[in-house]
Structures are given as structure tokens and as C-alpha cells.
Point group: C2
Chain length 192, copies 2
Amino acid sequence: MQNKLFSFISKYISLTEDEKNALLSLNLFHSLKKGTVLLKEGQYAKESYFVLSGCIRTYYIIEGEEKTTAFYTETDVLTPHCVIHQTPSDYYVSCVEDCILTISNADMEAEVNSKFPKFEIMCRKLSEELLAKQRIDFDEFKTSSPEQRYLNLLQKRPDLIQRVPQHQLASYLGIKPQSLSRLRARILEKKS
Amino acid sequence: MQNKLFSFISKYISLTEDEKNALLSLNLFHSLKKGTVLLKEGQYAKESYFVLSGCIRTYYIIEGEEKTTAFYTETDVLTPHCVIHQTPSDYYVSCVEDCILTISNADMEAEVNSKFPKFEIMCRKLSEELLAKQRIDFDEFKTSSPEQRYLNLLQKRPDLIQRVPQHQLASYLGIKPQSLSRLRARILEKKS
């Protein structure tokens, strides 16, 4: 798992052995069982998550109903917006599968960044990339029909369709579970 | 306009006179007429935009129809995702109003960041903030009905409703122009 983390980081900056050891001394790696809730609505948080294996999701509870807004799988990064804004969280984060995550917090990051300024460069590049990626997803969501959204997902993240429960997938796609079933049936029919 | 830029920057880092002069020497400020197209589908680009006054928008042309996905007004920042990914743009950027923008490019930014590492810190903080803000907008869009989206906009960016054409606003809200008219009539009726 260490190698997975270092290989991810090496896309942005090259690390010396000292820097690798500094990271390893932070006790970043955590194994979590499926169903673990990492963050609840109303809580304050400082943690960022990097998914080494497994899947976590963010969801709101609106009028008693769960609304899943995002799934994070291998090498995805999540810093909940409540961490940036230092406000109580308005959503939940939980493990859809057994997970291995690195969990870092704002204090750790400030310490590492001040000791090794190149981490600042990595964080900047990573945030810019995530911003661009999220914008593409948002634009696609805005400009697509539910059927197109499902087809995009099939193309871009086919594993998700197998990994997550259908009702979570439906709200992620912004549709009702019954509509997702009908839509899948329609697509299968077209293919056959 | 210089003061507006420096006041924005001062939210993230404090600048010395030397650093201010380095920025001013870059010829960042540009006045542009309403309707100016800053970026076209298919073009490669290196430019980021910071809106000092006016409004710019991003839009796709899909099956001959414009789909507006975002509006950027005073103190908003846009780095098109094609700049980050170094791919041809899949959308257009144009001025909805007469604008004063700072336009910087990736080379300038690399130069400034290497000379003054604190700009790296600003870019990192800003990207993290924009990522969090965009995530909130995306989540709201996903979990809201068209009527709620309009009410959210009324609350968060009431000026937009006066500033931009209705058909652009409709596609920004992910609905048809006729639906926007009906929805506005319905809200007005409830209020009266």
C-alpha cells in the first residue's frame, strides 16, 4: 500500500528517502470495514481521505431520504468541503466496501508542507486537476439526459455499476431507482 | 482595478511592493467588449481568467444548441479544464457583458511561482476553495428540483437573474426556457 501511495505522489513530485520516511512516520494508513461512517452531518472535521482500495461515498439525508452525490474509489481523493470552510458538515461519508485509506488532517498537511515545500506544489497541482475533473463531471451531468449519464458512467467507471447498490447509483445519476431499472432495460433491449 | 486584484490576493497571502510590481509588469489587465469570444471549441489554450468586472460564461454547442454551464462574475476565477489537461477545448468562453479581466497564462504562473514561492501557496489555497465551492454547487444541482435550483440562485446570486439572458439562465439551471418562465410565474404567484 505504501508503494501505491508513493507511485501516486510520483506523478506530481519526486520524493527522497527522507521525505518518504517523514510521510510514513505520520501513521496515515487505516483499514476500515464496509459500513463505517467516517463523517456525519453536523460534525466538524479536519480529515482528508485518499482511497488505496475500496470505495467511499458522500451522501446527504434530505427529508429522511439518502441522496448519494459521489463515489471515491482507488486513487481518488476527498477533502470534504466542511474541512476547507471550517463549518459543520452538511453530508455523510461512509465506506461502501472494506477500505484501506490514508487519512491525513490539516495540521499534518501544514507541517509537511512547511518542512518540504514541494508538497505544496503537489497539493496545488492535485487540486487544480481535481477541480478540472469535477468541472467536466458537472458539465456532463448538466448537459446530459439520464440515459446519457448512465452510458457515460458505463464508459468511464464501469466498475461502479457492479460495486455499488442500485439505489445509491440511481441518486448519484439524479434519477429514481425505478427509472434506473427502466433505463437499463431499454439499453439492454437496444443492444440485443 | 489593481487594488481589486491586490485585495483579492491579500485574502491568501500578503504581498511586498516588489511582488506587486512583479505582477503589474506582466500586463495582466484586459478590457473586453460584450460578445467577445475568449475560447472556442477545438482550440488549445493556456489562459486563466480572473473577473474584475463584468460576466463571462462557458457554453457547449451540442447538436447545434448552446448549453450554458457556468457564469463567472466579479472576483470569480476560471481556468478552463483544457488548460490543465492540455487538450483541445470542448467548450466556448465568451463575455456576457463588457468585462475587465486579468488574463494570465501557464508560463507566467510558473515564472511567478518559482520566483515567489508564496504564490504557490495562494494557488493551492485558491484551488482548494474553488474545488469545495464547485462541489457544493454540484451537490445542490444533483439533489434539487428545478424550482429549488432557481430559488437557490435567487438567494446566492440574485444579480445573475438580472444580468444574463433567460435562455442562458435556463440551460444553466438544466431546464428548458419555457419551463423557466412557468417556474418563475409559479413562484411569483406563491409570493403574491
